[in-house]
């Protein structure tokens, strides 16, 4: 086909004019502007067209006379030369020619590709038909629109007819396409009606009779009809997001292709707004290629969900274009001034009016339509911290529902899902299982008004991550609680339990009472401070000092206390509970011994803090130890306690005096942390 076209084109007369030269006169025939028009259909009236064809005939004949005198204008200067016309060479064919051939070829390929893939689909068939018709109107146009001066009138008429028939057939196919895709609106056989009507128009065009501009108005009405069908399809696909997404892309790309062609090339001339189209028709044909490539993607539903996102932007861009064009047309009408000036003004207005408007639209459309996590933090944390897994599952579903508003409640998914992903061409979104919950499948985003998009995936990934983070901190908190509970029960067992047990098994009633009192005191300490693993030495010693001196005072024993030299306002080193508890028990035991056995009047108590140990000395002025070997219960308790803490206990005569007893205990300090500074 392309070959045939090129062959015909090469048989047309050609003069070796310098590049950029505009012929003004051939032989003795002065050329008018009309003679050089690219698309004679733009002349409108059939009489004018017939006259034009006759002129082409005359000119073509003149160009067959060798040599021929030609006057041309180059850089506003007229030159007259005598040249010998010859048939065109391959190299003489301008770029615009090959461009139109190319447009036709591309359309043909895409049409064949889509038809091959979906042979049984009427939508695809109609699509292929539109694609097939593109070369029918581009290739003849390629010949006559890139002619140098003139071609044979009859040939011109034939090519023009072919072009018109192709364009009308294209329109019929477009109507067919939108009547069958995505849903058949009626049986394909009803398409014979528009085919017949526009067939009649084509016949009138060939016969050059009937109303003016039949083809132009025909294609315009076809476009309008296709648009109406598109709108109908749109309304019918209300609850079918996949169809709707495909359709949105479809209508968009068809409109883009056809309306750009008609709007920029055909309509201004048909409606009498301008002498020429804004873009030469040959190049404007490329808009059909845009359309076909886009449609092919849509028909194949190739990642429609991806296209869906972009189609919004393109819609907005397109509406901007239309606005600019409309403004331009209005301004041309109003100002009757230079087209480029008014285009500039249109752009200016678009800048002030349209772009802010577009921004607003963009925000409205994109925000409302895309899922977002903002403001959901409380809900996410609430879900992760749900008291039971069932509750958590319920809250998770509510959360997903609120974010994506799927048509149906989230379904539990049986198959494992590693990461969020789209399924069924974006109809559903798979959310991986979080925190032991089953994965979820969401279907029909935003009550079925849209498809799930990659931005939903991103939101889902963030959601899962945030939930996992919250759940993880909850788990570590729970682990901490369990650890703490274990420690408390161990402490109760080791201390209170041991004390109560020794009280129970103690034969002396007084010691029983002491042990029970100690248990109560320890319990109160626990209630006051909780089970701490570490205690500051300062406050512990202060309490011990008061307790000890009171006990001794009540027993009529005077007491002098020497504590470690802790800096004023500081609580001293922080020591492990075991050590503090051991120290307390040993001191209590030693004081009990003094009160019970020593018959003393004065007791010296000294506690000193070394780098490695705590030293305790309790010395009384009592009756001294009984006979060696008769060491009492209390003293062996002290020795045992000290030994349990890897310390040493010495019980013996008070040094330096003849009377009294002295208990010396050294407890090594382990696990000592830095001194805590009091507030």
């Amino acid at each position: 086909m392309a070959f045939l076209t090129a062959l015909v084109a090469l048989r047309q007369p050609y003069l070796d004019l310098p590049p950029g030269a505009v012929p003004v006169q051939v032989a003795d025939i002065p050329l008018t502007e009309t003679d050089l028009i690219q698309e004679p259909d733009q002349l409108g009236n059939y009489d004018v067209i017939r006259a034009f064809h006759a002129r082409q005939d005359v000119l073509a004949d003149a160009l067959r006379v060798d040599p021929v005198t030609v006057t041309y204008r180059l850089d506003s200067v007229e030159h007259t030369e005598t040249l010998s016309p010859h048939n065109r060479h391959m190299g003489d064919l301008p770029f615009a020619f090959w461009f139109q051939i190319g447009v036709g070829m591309v359309s043909l390929c895409i049409g064949g590709w889509v038809l091959g893939l979906r042979r049984e689909d009427w939508g695809a068939r109609m699509f292929a038909l539109t694609a097939l018709m593109v070369p029918v109107f581009t290739m003849p146009a390629a010949i006559y629109s890139t002619r140098q001066i003139a071609i044979d009138g009859d040939l011109f008429r034939l090519l023009s007819s072919l072009n018109g028939v192709g364009a009308l057939a294209f329109g019929v196919a477009l109507i067919g396409l939108f009547s069958q895709y995505p849903k058949p609106l009626f049986r394909p056989r009803w398409l014979l009606i528009p085919a017949a009507i526009y067939g009649a128009v084509a016949v009138m065009h060939i016969l050059q009779s009937g109303p003016d501009n039949a083809v132009g108005f025909g294609t315009l009405s076809q476009m309008a009809l296709a648009l109406v069908l598109g709108v109908v399809q749109w309304i019918l696909s209300r609850r079918e997001p996949l169809n709707r997404a495909g359709l949105r892309w479809f209508i968009l790309i068809s409109l883009l292709g056809c309306s750009l062609f008609i709007g920029l090339s055909a309509a201004p001339v048909i409606l009498g707004l301008s002498e020429d189209g804004l873009i030469p028709q040959g190049y404007a044909f490329a808009f059909f290629n845009i359309m076909h490539i886009g449609l092919a993607l849509g028909v194949l539903r190739y990642k429609v969900f991806n296209l869906d996102r972009w189609s919004y932007y393109i819609w907005l861009w397109l509406s901007g274009m239309v606005l600019i064009l409309v403004l331009d047309v209005v301004l041309i009408r109003l100002l009757q001034s230079q087209p480029w000036v008014s285009l500039g003004a249109a752009l200016l207005i678009a800048g002030f009016v349209y772009f802010p408007l577009r921004q607003l639209l963009l925000r409205l459309l994109m925000q409302r339509r895309s899922a977002t996590l903002s403001g959901r933090m409380a809900q996410i944390v609430n879900c992760a911290l749900a008291p039971s897994q069932r509750e958590q599952a319920d809250r998770w579903d509510v959360l997903l529902n609120d974010i994506y508003q799927p048509l149906a409640p989230p379904e539990r998914c049986v198959d494992p899902v590693d990461a969020p992903r789209l399924a069924e061409s974006g109809l559903s979104l798979l959310i991986p299982g979080v925190d032991g919950l089953d994965p979820r499948r969401l279907r029909y985003a935003q009550k079925g008004r849209r498809l799930f998009t990659p931005s939903d995936l991103e939101v889902a990934a963030n959601l899962v991550q945030m939930h996992d983070l919250a759940a993880e901190s909850r788990h570590s908190y729970e682990r901490g609680v369990i650890l703490e509970r274990d420690r408390i029960s161990r402490d109760i067992h080791d201390n209170i339990g041991a004390q109560l047990l020794s009280a129970l098994h103690s034969p002396e009633p007084q010691r029983k009472d002491d042990l029970l009192r100690d248990s109560l005191n320890d319990l109160r300490a626990i209630i006051n401070d909780g089970f701490q693993a570490e205690y500051a030495l300062g406050p512990v010693l202060a309490d011990l000092r008061t307790e000890t001196t009171r006990r001794l005072e009540a027993g009529d024993v005077r007491c002098s206390w020497t504590g470690p030299d802790l800096p004023d306002g500081e609580d001293g080193p922080v020591l492990p509970f075991e050590l503090i508890n051991g120290l307390r028990s040993i001191l209590r035991e030693a004081v009990s011994n003094v009160l019970r056995h020593a018959n003393a009047r004065h007791t010296d108590i000294a506690i000193s803090l070394g780098a490695q140990s705590i030293d305790l000395r309790v010395a009384d002025d009592g009756c001294g130890l009984p006979v060696i070997g008769q060491i009492g219960n209390g003293t062996s308790n002290i020795a045992e306690r000290a030994a349990a803490l890897d310390g040493q206990a010495m019980i013996g005569r008070r040094s330096g005096t003849a009377i009294g007893t002295q208990v010396t205990v050294t407890l090594p300090i382990r696990l000592m942390t830095l001194p805590k500074v009091a507030e």
């Binding site: 009472d513 029970l516 009192r517 109560l520 005191n521 319990l523 109160r524 209630i527 006051n528 300062g538 406050p539 010693l541 202060a542 309490d543 011990l544 000092r545 008061t546 001196t549 009171r550 006990r551 005072e553 009540a554 027993g555 206390w561 504590g563 507030e679």
Partner: protein, 217 residues
């Protein structure tokens, strides 16, 4: 002269134990023994008491309620908290509610008697733990109150020494004061605790708009 004593204590053995001590020290006054808050409140409606030993955690409520009632209705009654497991902050709370002192029921009988006697002589008890807690209390609430409810330098010093385990006599020696002066300071601390508590209550009340009628008058 102590003529009538109220003992509010829910554990019977402890109640009898305390009653025995009171009878011995105070020369057998009339003792009303109550096991519940309601019973004690009822008794307060019928008699005037000179001394009340009040346990804090009771089956039907908090002993602090009775302390407030007694402070308001029988200001001459000496109120003493008797506790075994109450936290320091609860005890400070009871002191702020009007108690003049507290006794630990787990102390040996001898020690309890000793403390009770001191209390009757007007020497309030003050353990290092409670002293620390009171210091904390004034650190936290101090700046918001007027001078009458903040501690003087001397009072703070006394508290600090007591908190380090010094007895009243030792603290007096360390500060170069008479023992009676130190006791006066401790009493002042107790009083300020109560005042600060009242001031706080008044502040809350005015915040809630409960006192707006008064200020309008």
């Amino acid at each position: 002269m102590i003529e009538r004593v109220l003992i509010l204590e829910d554990i019977r053995q402890s109640r009898e134990f305390l009653a025995a001590i009171v009878a011995r020290i105070l020369n057998a006054p009339e003792i009303a023994k109550e096991a519940t808050l309601r019973g004690a409140e009822h008794a307060c409606g019928r008699y005037r008491f000179d001394l009340a030993l009040v346990d804090l955690s009771l089956p039907d409520g908090d002993g602090t309620t009775l302390l407030r009632k007694l402070t308001a209705e029988q200001p001459d009654c000496i109120c003493v908290v008797t506790t075994v497991m109450a936290t320091d902050s609860t005890i400070v709370g009871a002191l702020a509610a009007g108690a003049q002192g507290y006794l630990l029921k787990s102390d040996p009988e001898q020690l309890l008697e000793h403390h009770l006697r001191l209390l009757m002589d007007g020497v309030p008890p003050l353990s290092p733990q409670i002293a620390r807690r009171i210091m904390q209390h004034f650190q936290l609430t101090g700046p918001t109150h007027e001078a009458t409810s903040t501690l003087t330098k001397r009072e703070t010093e006394v508290l600090r020494l007591i908190a380090r385990g010094l007895r009243v006599a030792e603290a007096a020696e360390a500060l170069g004061l008479a023992e009676s002066t130190v006791i006066t300071h401790i009493k002042a601390v107790y009083r300020k605790l109560e005042i600060s508590n009242r001031a706080e209550a008044a502040l809350h009340a005015s915040r809630l708009g409960l006192l707006s009628g008064d200020s309008a008058d």
